[in-house]
């Protein structure tokens, strides 16, 4: 049996969506909401064709979720895959209503024939496999930019009717934060750190490991010691690095839900009863102010 598979793209991060779609027999189509450059970039990927929705210049893409969903629903998809971006989730919600099918979020992977999604729920503590027809899945990690193919497929352009509800007031650029979702190693720091000026200690460890720095919600939001984009957990990023090292983090569920897909979790905490020691692969029970510098120097020593 073959399936009519659609990817909904609101930016170029679709590599993992493409990989997931490739496991489903049949043609893969991409519906793109964005500018011409994006449509052209995604036309040079391994898909059958591109349906390009062009929003009027200077408008807010969220406004067009309904129009995109309607056009995709009319093409009778069997499988729809998208990422967790706000605009993508809004389109997915509209598709659920249009297709009268459940919206399945926090999806880690899919299998075809018949289409089945594997998802995490209850803050990452339960893994389920579910089926629905059509299968409408929002994947946690849509992947990075796709690999370009030599030839471009056809682009079918749909001109969107201008929205009337939401208008742009201002867009103030900000430095794009490090992309934690694709980081291979992450060192995260929590309330165990006594002062913002001690962040240098953690950065040294990150440098020694070639890792990116992240933090718990209190550090990234309440205290504002780190950029908000660097919060790991249910209100922040859900990441899947090969190595996650948590320094002075207690391991509350809302935080740990962000790292259920990390391969190895390491904790440094001075409280032997800390929750995180029940949720990690390796741990050092000790004062981070002594352990972190020791770790930096041990990492510098040659392999035994």
């Amino acid at each position: 049996m073959t399936f009519n598979t659609w990817i909904i793209a609101v930016d170029n991060r679709i590599a993992d969506l493409l990989a997931a779609a490739a496991t489903v027999p049949g043609e893969v189509h991409v519906a793109v909401l964005g500018d011409r450059d994006l449509a052209e970039e995604l036309a040079r990927t391994d898909v059958a064709d591109v349906l390009w929705f062009e929003p009027p210049a200077g408008s807010v893409v969220e406004e067009y979720a309904g129009q995109v969903a309607e056009a995709v629903a009319a093409r009778k998809p069997d499988v729809v895959l998208t990422g967790p971006q706000d605009a993508a989730r809004l389109i997915a919600g509209r598709l659920a209503a249009q297709l009268r099918t459940p919206l399945i979020t926090s999806v880690q992977s899919i299998e075809a024939d018949p289409p089945v999604a594997t998802r995490l729920t209850v803050s990452g503590s339960v893994e389920q496999t579910v089926s629905a027809s059509p299968l409408l899945a929002v994947l946690d990690s849509p992947g990075g930019a796709p690999e370009a193919t030599d030839a471009a497929v056809t682009i079918d352009q749909i001109v969107l009717a201008p929205g009337t509800t939401i208008s742009m007031v201002s867009a103030v650029p900000r430095a794009a934060g490090a992309d934690l979702s694709t980081a291979d190693r992450v060192v995260a720091v929590g309330r165990g750190l006594a002062a913002k000026t001690d962040l240098g200690l953690v950065r040294d460890l990150a440098t020694a490991l070639g890792a990116q720095v992240a933090g718990s919600l209190p550090l990234a939001e309440d205290l504002g010691w780190l950029d908000k984009d660097l919060c790991v957990g249910i209100s922040g990023k859900q990441i899947s690095p090969a190595l996650y090292l948590a320094v002075g983090i207690s391991g509350q569920m809302q935080h740990m839900a962000g790292v259920t897909r990390a391969q190895k979790v390491v904790a440094i905490n001075n409280d032997p009863e800390a929750l995180i020691f029940g949720k990690c692969d390796y741990g050092i029970v000790g004062d981070l102010y002594a352990v972190v510098p020791a770790l930096v120097s041990a990492l510098g020593e040659p392999r035994a």
């Binding site: 919206l103 803050s123 089926s131 190895k264």
Partner: protein
């Protein structure tokens, strides 16, 4: 005219005991308003006040009505049904039906994500069911007395948009500081109306996904601990372990 705010009362996920097959025992779990809902109620109160409108809370199950009334909702409409195990799709359909019962409810405010599910799915389904635009992850909501502006952080910009007409706005944790109600608020809340609606009256239904398998995930990690009383030695032991696991 009214500003509608959806809020939810749920068990603390930390208190749920997850069996190997993924079934959850919530008995003994403390229940409270979850996730960003305290923020949502505060944003709704401020918005309604500034627009000179009513703030109307909508919720599933009626136990939590007082909680929202004490925080600034003028009245609450609750569905008298236990929808604890219901699908997100059904919950969103029920919330949409409740929002439709409120006259002139152009603005619907909701928390961006709930901790218990972490699915962040109800807001987009609610916007879809109501057939209006949605704005997710709002980090700020303001009004000038007539129009609403919403601030959001995208990957590379802080974007402010103006909303003219019906919309669903999902607010993130940092959109406002929830206030702690005083004794007076709690007493005033008792005088405010709670309307309960039977589920059957709403006539909604929604598809649910078919569950095939389920299992607990967090059983995988078995910690190997090193004693940091001697930091150098513990650090070397950890590095050796990580090297042999090919993690560094």
């Amino acid at each position: 005219m009214a500003v509608v705010v959806a809020f939810k009362w749920a068990p603390d996920p930390q208190d749920g005991r997850v069996a190997d097959d993924g079934a959850i025992d919530w008995s003994g779990a403390a229940t409270s308003a979850v996730g960003d809902d305290a923020v949502a109620v505060e944003v709704a109160r401020q918005t309604a006040e500034s627009l000179g409108q009513e703030a109307v809370g909508i919720t599933l199950g009626r136990k939590n009505a007082d909680w929202a009334l004490a925080r600034g909702a003028d009245r609450v409409i609750a569905v008298d049904a236990d929808l604890a195990g219901a699908s997100d799709d059904l919950r969103a359909a029920v919330l949409a039906a409740l929002a439709r019962r409120v006259d002139g409810a152009d603005t619907v405010i909701i928390g961006d994500s709930a901790v218990d599910s972490g699915a962040a799915v109800v807001p987009s389904l609610l916007a879809a069911t109501l057939g209006r635009p949605g704005l997710l992850g709002a980090t700020g909501v303001a009004t000038d007395g007539t129009a609403i502006t919403v601030e959001r952080r995208t990957r590379d910009a802080v974007v402010t948009v103006k909303v003219d007409g019906p919309a669903v706005i999902a607010v993130a944790a940092d959109a406002a500081t929830p206030r702690v109600p005083g004794m007076r608020d709690v007493l005033m809340a008792r005088k405010r109306p709670i309307e309960t609606v039977e589920l059957a009256e709403l006539g909604v239904d929604a598809p649910g996904a078919e569950l095939l398998t389920s299992r607990r995930t967090d059983s995988g990690r078995q910690a190997q601990l090193f004693d940091g009383a001697d930091p150098q030695q513990a650090a070397r032991q950890l590095v050796a372990a990580l090297r042999s696991a090919e993690a560094v």
